[in-house]
């Protein structure tokens, strides 16, 4: 199980990824299956809905995502990084 904290528009989401094709987002478990189409394009089957997503890696853990016409600027941190960030 890997745990990440994703900040979008100043809102923090907790995401836990298990190795059995499930994720837990903000305490809610849901199936998630990722297909890489190319370096920047992905299909994410999230629950029973498939999303076609474009991703631009701005920095190491800073992504720009385009989903259904919406643009999301995301910053991903591990638990350790998040704790360090909070301390700073």
């Amino acid at each position: 199980m890997s745990e990440f904290f994703v900040t979008i528009n100043n809102k923090k989401h907790s995401v836990k990824i298990s190795e059995n094709g499930f994720v837990e987002i903000n305490g809610k478990q849901i199936s998630a299956e990722l297909t890489v189409l190319n370096k920047n394009a992905f299909l994410l089957k999230y629950g029973n809905k498939v999303f076609e997503i474009t991703s631009n890696q701005i920095e190491n853990a800073h992504f720009g995502l385009l989903i259904e016409g919406w643009y999301f600027d995301t910053i991903v941190r591990t638990r350790l990084q998040e704790t360090a960030n909070e301390l700073l």
Binding site: S2, V15, N38, I53, L66, F72
Partner: protein, 504 residues
């Protein structure tokens, strides 16, 4: 010089963006050489690369390039073009330009300068329509000379009224007036706006039609006196008088109303001795009474929905008509087949007062599937410059019934990806799920009254909250995968159970 086997040898397309690309496609199908013009800002544009030949016309500002009449005509002659297709906007309804084309010996792919002049002045057009029994909104058929005269006329018609620019269009120089107290200031503002926008301060007065629908009829007419209508379109989804979504047919129009409004449209076209493609716009009230609004003497942005339900290629018809061909189908051969909806994709920041979003297209993934059509002026690495209208593309969907077209366009919009600029795609998700849109009861005030008060932020619904979760999950997966993916030059492989493919 016309080639006897071809309609024209070469057409100069004096436009840019999606409509230039659309006309280039029609030329290609007809075996005609397409010549594009472009400004310095458009040197890498799709229409430049798609045309058989492309010619730099000037600097980025439109009046130094796409509106430079003399330079365009000189270029057309220099490259031995036979005809000029203006598309829409720019010089398409400029009667002076059309007259210059006519006098130069070139063929203008559109109506005569005389017809354009007749319909260009709104009060003159209203007089003409009244004379030919085309219903007009009750009001004046001559410009109103003074505030005092205007007040008398307004009280005779009865408030609420509209003050409109005689030379107007696009909502400029237009004011709603609900009582005599507001009349003077509204009259002055309308005059000032009209002067600024059209260099003509003349205004006229109409009764305000409450909660109307915008219904328009596509017509085609040849130079031999044959007139056809291609049924109606509904364009009531507008933001500040600019159309955003169009569909054909209108679900509000029944067969009896359709017969009346299409007959009125043909009358309007005959009244100004029209030939080529044109559109007669009407306002329709709740009781299905309709009133002439204006005639657009050119190809319309929204022509694809009519093409989808009739199977008629309007641009190819325009070219054939301009070359002197007769329309080769009878009115009774035309049938409405299914339903079509079009959404205009703009590069604009909805939450930032709809300010145009400029820049380079860094990602472009097109929707596809049964009944989907995309008319676009962009591709990967295209620039969206600040100088022109920021419409990037039009996504249209056809279905056997309206619901099928609706579902198809929703799906298409959900997968259409344009990176590098902000687009209005998410707005359609809001509009296409509103009850008033679904049941067809919307009118031209729908977006202004129901959507604009929610901007910014409040219009973002539950769906966008779910998308934020999706974004969070994908970001976490990408972060996790970045340590596990092994990336080689052309392929991506992974060593965990997340599935990988490389389909592009």
């Amino acid at each position: 010089m016309l080639n006897s086997n071809k309609l024209f040898n070469k057409i100069l397309i004096t436009n840019r963006g999606e409509i230039a690309v659309r006309i280039i496609k029609a030329c290609r199908e007809l075996g005609i050489v397409s010549a594009a013009i472009y400004s310095e800002a458009d040197k890498n544009s799709l229409h430049v690369r798609t045309a058989d030949e492309a010619h730099l016309i000037g600097k980025p500002p439109a009046n130094e390039s796409y509106l430079n009449k003399q330079k365009i005509i000189e270029l057309a002659k220099k490259i031995n073009a036979d005809a000029i297709h203006p598309g829409y906007g720019f010089l398409s309804e400029n009667s002076d330009f059309i007259e210059m084309v006519e006098k130069s010996g070139l063929v203008f792919i559109g109506p005569s300068s005389k017809s354009v002049k007749m319909m260009g002045q709104k009060t003159a057009a209203r007089r003409l329509m009244k004379y030919h029994n085309v219903p007009i909104v009750p009001g004046t058929i001559k410009p109103v000379k003074s505030i005092e005269d205007g007040k008398i006329i307004a009280s005779e018609i009865g408030y609420p009224i509209m003050i409109k620019a005689s030379a107007g269009g696009g909502g400029k120089g237009m004011r709603k007036v609900f009582s005599e107290d507001e009349f003077e200031s509204s009259f002055q503002r309308a005059q000032n706006e009209a002067l600024k926008a059209f260099e003509n301060p003349e205004v006229y007065i109409e009764k305000l039609i409450q909660q109307p629908k915008h219904i328009e009829v596509q017509i085609l007419a040849d130079k031999h006196g044959n007139y056809r209508h291609l049924f109606e379109r509904e364009c009531s989804v507008q933001r500040r008088h600019q159309k955003v979504i169009e569909e054909a047919p209108s679900i509000f129009v029944d067969e009896s109303t359709r017969n009346k409004i299409t007959a009125a449209a043909i009358n309007a076209a005959k009244a100004c001795e029209y030939f080529n493609a044109g559109t007669i716009e009407f306002l329709m009230d709740k009781n299905k009474n309709f009133y002439f609004l204006e005639m657009n003497t050119r190809l319309q942005v929204e022509h694809p929905v009519t093409e989808l339900i009739t199977g008629i290629d309007i641009v190819k018809q325009q070219i054939k008509i301009a070359a002197g061909y007769k329309i080769d189908f009878a009115q009774d051969e035309l049938k409405i087949n299914g339903h079509a909806i079009e959404c205009r994709i703009y590069a604009e920041d909805v939450d930032n007062n709809f300010v145009p979003s400029t820049g380079k297209i860094t990602h472009h993934r097109l929707p596809s599937g049964p009944g989907i059509r995309v008319d676009r002026g962009i591709d990967l690495m295209s620039e969206v410059p600040i100088y022109y209208d920021p419409m990037l593309a039009k996504v249209s969907a056809w279905g056997q019934i309206r619901n099928e077209a609706l579902e198809r366009i929703k799906t298409a919009l959900s997968v259409y990806q344009i990176g590098g600029v902000i687009t209005n795609i998410p707005v359609f998700n809001w509009v296409l799920n509103q009850e008033v849109f679904l049941d067809g009861s919307f009118d031209i005030n729908f977006l202004d009254e129901q959507f604009l008060p929610l901007v910014p932020d409040k219009w973002k619904d539950q769906a966008s909250i779910q998308l934020e979760e999706v974004a969070a999950v994908l970001s976490a997966l990408l972060k996790k995968s970045s340590t596990e993916f092994v990336t080689t030059k052309n392929t991506i492989s992974c060593n965990n159970k997340w599935r990988c493919s490389d389909d592009e």
